[in-house]
Amino acid sequence: MKLAYWMYAGPAHIGTLRVASSFKNVHAIMHAPIGDDYFNVMRSMLERERDFTPVTTSVVDRHVLARGSQERVVDNITRKDREEQPDLIVLTPTCTSSILQEDLENFVNRAQLDAKGDVMLADVNHYRVNELQAADRTLDQIVQLYINKARKKGDLETKSEKPSVNIIGMSTLGFHNQHDCTELKRLMADLGIEVNEVIPEGASVHNLKRLPRAWFNLVPYRELGMMAASYLEQEFGIPCVDITPMGVVETARCIRKIQQVLNAQGADVNYEDFIDQQTRFVSQAAWFSRSIDCQNLTGKKAVVFGDNTHAAAMTKILAREMGIHVVWAGTYCKHDADWFREQVSEYCDEVIVTDDHGAIGDAIAKAEPSAIFGTQMERHVGKRLDIPCGVIAAPIHVQNFPIGYKPFLGYEGTNQCVDLVYNSFTLGMEDHLLEIFGGHDTKEVITKGISADSDMGWTKEGQAELNKIPGFVRGKVKRNTEKFARDRGIEKITVEVLYAAKEAVGA
C-alpha cells in the first residue's frame, strides 16, 4: 500500500479510452462498477465536447460479484452495436474487473458472432501499466487488428507516389494536441509532404489499411505512438521520425531528419533554405534569444517537470535557446526514464525521476527557482511558494484547453513557448519589485459608502456566524445585513437578523 492523494499519470483504462474515443465511430465499453465512467465527465468538461462521449459501462455490481457477468457483457456489446452501429467496440477492463479474472476474451468472441462491427478486448494490465503506456498499447493493438484484416482481404494500400506522412499520437485529452496537429499539418504542407493519415484523433478505422502508403511516420510525442510506429516499421519498413519539433533547434533537427528519410527513398529535397527562413524571420524565437529581454533572463534559475516529451523539450529550450539555468529537470514517466536522462542530462544540473508530488514540491522549495515549468500540481506549489509557473504538461485543468490557437510544436509553437517563458519570468520580477517598493498604491484606501466602519453593533454570535461566510462574499453580506437592520431600526445584529436579512434580500 502507498499513501497518496495525487497522481501524475492516470490508471490504464483512461489511456485505452483516450485512444478509442479519439477514433471516429469507435465505441468503448468499460467492464466497471457504477461511477468509473468519470472519463465521460472529463472529456465533456475539459474538451467542451459537443457529442456524447462514445463510452458506456457494462456495470459490475453485487450480482456480478456473486455469479459473474454471464450474458451481461455480451448483451451490452450487441446492444451498443445495434444502437450506434460503431465500426469497432473496444471492451475495456478496469482495475476492478481485472481482479475478477473473468474471461473477457471469451465474451468478445461470443459478441463478435452477433455484432456487425468489430469487437476487441483492450490488452492492458492495470497493475503494471499507467494511462500513457496503455494508450500506446491500445493504439498499437487497433492498428495491428486492421492491418491484419486488410492483409487477409488483400486490400492493403502501397506506397504513395509523392512523399507522404502518417502523423501518429494525436489524441483526445492530450496537452494542446489539436493545435499541435494543425501546426504539424501546416508544416508538412510547407515542406511539400502529403499528410496520409492522422491517428488516432479523428481517424476512421477503415482508413488504417492506408497507413502503408506513407513514406515515413512522424511521432511527435514520446508517450503515444511509438509502439504502432515500430510495428509499421517492422512490417512495412516505414521509417519513423521521433524527434519532437518543439523549440527552434529541435524543429530544425526534426525537419533535417525528415529530409534525410525522404532522400534515402529517392526524393530529392533540400529544406535548408526553408529552415533558415523560418528560423530567422517567421518564428520570433531566434530573434527573441538575441533581444535585450532575453538577455535579462540569463542565468536565472528554473526547474522543469512533466511528461517526457514536454519536460525534455522545455529543458532544452530554456538552457540552449534562452541561456536560463535549469537547476533540475524531472519526469514522472518512470517507465521510460533512461530516454529522459539521455535527452536532458547535458542541459541541467540534476535529473529527477519520480511520481511523488511531495518530493517534487520539496525539490522546488529547495531550489528556489525564479520560475517553474510543470503540471497543474507544480503551478499550485508555485502559488504556495510565490513562484510563477508555466504549465507545460498534463495533468491539466480546463484552462489548459484554450480555444485560441496555441500549439507547442512547429514554428508557431516556438512563439508560444517564448510568450509562456517570458511572461512567467517577468511576472515574477514584477512581484518582486512590488514587494520591495511596497505595493502599487501606497495611499490610504478611501472608505466607500456604508461598507466600512459602520456603527452597527454585532452580537458575538452574529459576528461568529458572519465569519463563517466565505471571505469573497462576506463584505457584501455584512453590508446587506446592516442596511436591513438600519432600515428596521434594529440595533444589535444577531444570528437571526443575519438570516432574516438574507431572506429579505431575496424578496
Binding site: A4, G35, Y127, E503
Partner: protein, 467 residues
C-alpha cells in the same frame, strides 16, 4: 383537465442501471470539510484516486485531510499483510495530522478481495489509540450521495449513549456552550432554556454546511423545539448522545441506512417527514416534527407565503415549463416536488435508488402536490438507463434537463437546456432561507438562454436530424 381530477398513484419503474453518476467515495470531499478533526483514508486503486483528484478539482491542492491507501499488486495477491500495511499508513497519518478519527472508506477492490476492514479496525484502533470508523462506500453497491449514508451509519454506532458518569461527561460535552454562556448570569441561561417546550430530545442527521445547520436549528427554536445534537457534528469528539427513545429526523433523502441504523441499533424513533428542501418541504418538515412532539406550530402560514412571494420573479421564468431528472444523487424526489409546486411539470424522475419507506412522507407530499397543482404524476424510474432517457428527452421536448456533466454539454449543443445536477449537492438548498438558491440554480440556464435566444444558433451539432 378532467384526466387529472382523478387521483393518480405514483408510477414506479426500474430500468437497466446503465446510468452515469459519481462514485460514492466522493463523499469524503464534503465530509472531511464538515468533520474538522477527521481524516479519510480511501483504500482502493489508482482508479479511485484518479476520480477523487479530478472530481474535487482545486480542493485537492489545499492539503486535504484525505488520502488514498493505494493498493498494489502485492496487496491484491495477499503477498503483503493488510493489517501491517494499514498500521504503517495509519501511524504515518497519526504522526503528520493527529486526527481525532480516521475513517476508512472501503472500495470495490476491498470488497472483491474481501479485505476484512470491519474486523481489522477495532484491533488497530486499540493499538494506535485513534478511533477508526469503517464505511463501505463502493460503486458495486451504492451511488454518489449514498456514500455519506454509509459513513453516517457507521458513525451512528460511535455516538455516545447515556454513560454512567452522565454529569461529568455532559459537563465536558457542553464545554463549548458553557464557553458561549460565559459571563451570562445564571438566570439568563435559565431564561434561554425556558424558550423551549419540554419535549423528548431530538437529534437531526445529515451533513449540512454550518450556516444551514444554524438556520434550521433556529427555525425549530421558533417553535420551541430544541435540537439536542447533529449527526455529524463539526468535530468527531462532539458526536451527539443517542439514548433509547430519542427522536431523530433525516435532513436528506439519501440517508436510509443511517435511519435504519438509528432505529434498530440505537432504538431511536424516526420522525418520517418530507425533507426541508423548498419552502413547502421546510414547512411540512416542521409541521411533522411539531405534531410528533405535540406542539402547535405557529406562524408557518405567513412565513411560507412570504418566502413564495419573494420567489415570484423566478417563478415567472419556470411556470408551465417541463423538467426532466435523469437521476444521479437521490435528491430528485424532493427537488421535483418543489419544482412542481413552483408550477413546473415533470414527466420523469430518474433516481439511482428509491427507499419507499424512508421517503414515504416525501412521496406522499409529491403525490399531493401533483394533485393540488393539477399536473400528471411523474414516472419515477429507478436505476435508469441513460440511453433510453435521451430518446425520451428528444421525444418529449423537455424545457430543462437536470443531469450529470457527462450529458450536459452534448445536450446543450443540441439546443436542450441543462442544469448540472451535482451543484444541488454542494449548494445550500435546505430551509426557508435557501429556497431562492435552488431557483437561482434551476433558472440559470433559462436566464442565460433568454439572452441568447434571438441569435439563431440553438443547435450546434452537424448531421443531427433526429433532434
Amino acid at each position: 383537465m378532467t384526466a387529472t381530477t382523478e387521483p393518480q398513484a405514483l408510477n414506479f419503474e426500474c430500468e437497466t442501471g446503465n446510468y452515469h453518476t459519481f462514485c460514492p467515495i466522493s463523499c469524503v470531499a464534503w465530509l472531511y470539510q464538515k468533520i474538522e478533526d477527521s481524516f479519510f483514508l480511501v483504500i482502493g486503486t489508482k482508479t479511485c484516486g484518479y476520480f477523487l483528484q479530478n472530481a474535487m478539482g482545486v480542493m485537492i491542492f489545499a492539503e486535504p485531510r484525505y488520502a488514498m491507501a493505494e493498493l498494489e499488486e502485492g496487496d491484491i495477491s495477499a503477498q503483503l499483510n493488510d493489517y501491517n500495511e494499514l498500521k504503517r499508513l495509519c501511524l504515518q497519518i497519526k504522526r503528520d495530522r493527529n486526527p481525532s478519527v480516521i475513517v476508512w472508506i472501503g472500495t470495490c477492490t476491498t470488497e472483491i478481495i474481501k479485505m476484512d476492514l470491519e474486523g481489522l479496525a477495532p484491533k488497530l484502533e486499540a493499538e494506535i489509540g485513534i478511533p477508526i470508523v469503517t464505511a463501505r462506500a463502493n460503486g458495486l453497491d451504492y451511488a454518489f450521495t449514498q456514500g455519506e449514508d454509509t459513513v453516517l451509519a457507521a458513525m451512528a454506532a460511535k455516538c455516545p449513549d447515556k454513560a454512567p458518569v452522565v454529569e461529568a461527561q455532559k459537563q465536558e460535552r457542553n464545554a463549548i456552550s458553557q464557553l458561549l454562556n460565559f459571563g451570562k448570569k445564571k438566570e439568563e441561561v435559565a431564561a434561554e432554556e425556558s424558550e423551549y417546550v419540554n419535549h423528548q430530545p431530538l437529534v437531526l442527521f445529515g451533513s449540512l454546511p454550518d450556516p444551514v445547520v444554524t438556520q434550521l436549528t433556529l427555525e425549530l427554536k421558533k417553535q420551541g423545539i430544541k435540537v439536542s445534537g447533529w449527526l455529524p457534528s463539526k468535530r468527531y469528539t462532539e458526536l451527539p448522545v443517542l439514548e433509547e427513545g430519542y427522536y431523530v429526523s433525516g435532513m436528506n433523502p439519501f440517508l436510509s441506512r443511517t435511519a435504519s441504523t438509528l432505529m434498530r441499533r440505537r432504538k431511536c424513533k424516526l420522525i418520517g417527514a418530507p425533507f426541508p428542501i423548498g419552502p413547502d418541504g421546510t414547512r411540512a418538515w416542521i409541521e411533522k416534527i411539531c405534531s410528533v412532539l405535540g406542539i402547535e406550530p405557529k406562524g408557518l402560514d405567513e412565513r411560507e407565503a412570504q418566502i413564495w412571494a419573494g420567489l415570484e420573479d423566478y417563478l415567472q421564468l419556470i411556470r408551465g415549463k417541463s423538467v426532466f431528472f435523469m437521476g444521479d444523487n437521490l435528491l430528485e424526489i424532493s427537488l421535483a416536488r418543489f419544482l412542481i409546486r413552483c408550477g413546473m411539470t415533470c414527466p420523469e424522475i430518474g433516481i439511482p435508488y428509491m427507499d419507499k419507506r424512508y421517503q414515504a412522507a416525501e412521496l406522499a407530499l409529491l403525490e399531493k402536490t401533483c394533485h393540488e397543482m393539477g399536473v400528471p404524476t411523474p414516472r419515477i424510474v429507478e436505476k435508469p438507463d441513460n440511453y433510453n432517457q435521451l430518446q425520451r428527452i428528444y421525444e418529449q421536448n423537455i424545457d430543462l434537463v437536470i443531469t450529470g456533466m457527462a450529458h450536459a454539454n452534448p445536450l446543450e449543443a443540441r439546443g436542450i437546456n441543462t442544469k448540472w445536477s451535482v451543484e444541488f449537492t454542494f449548494a445550500q438548498i435546505h430551509g426557508f432561507g435557501n429556497a431562492r438558491d435552488i431557483l437561482e440554480l434551476v433558472t440559470r440556464p433559462l436566464r442565460r438562454n433568454n439572452s441568447l435566444k434571438d441569435l439563431g444558433w440553438g443547435n450546434l451539432v452537424k448531421n443531427e436530424a433526429k433532434v
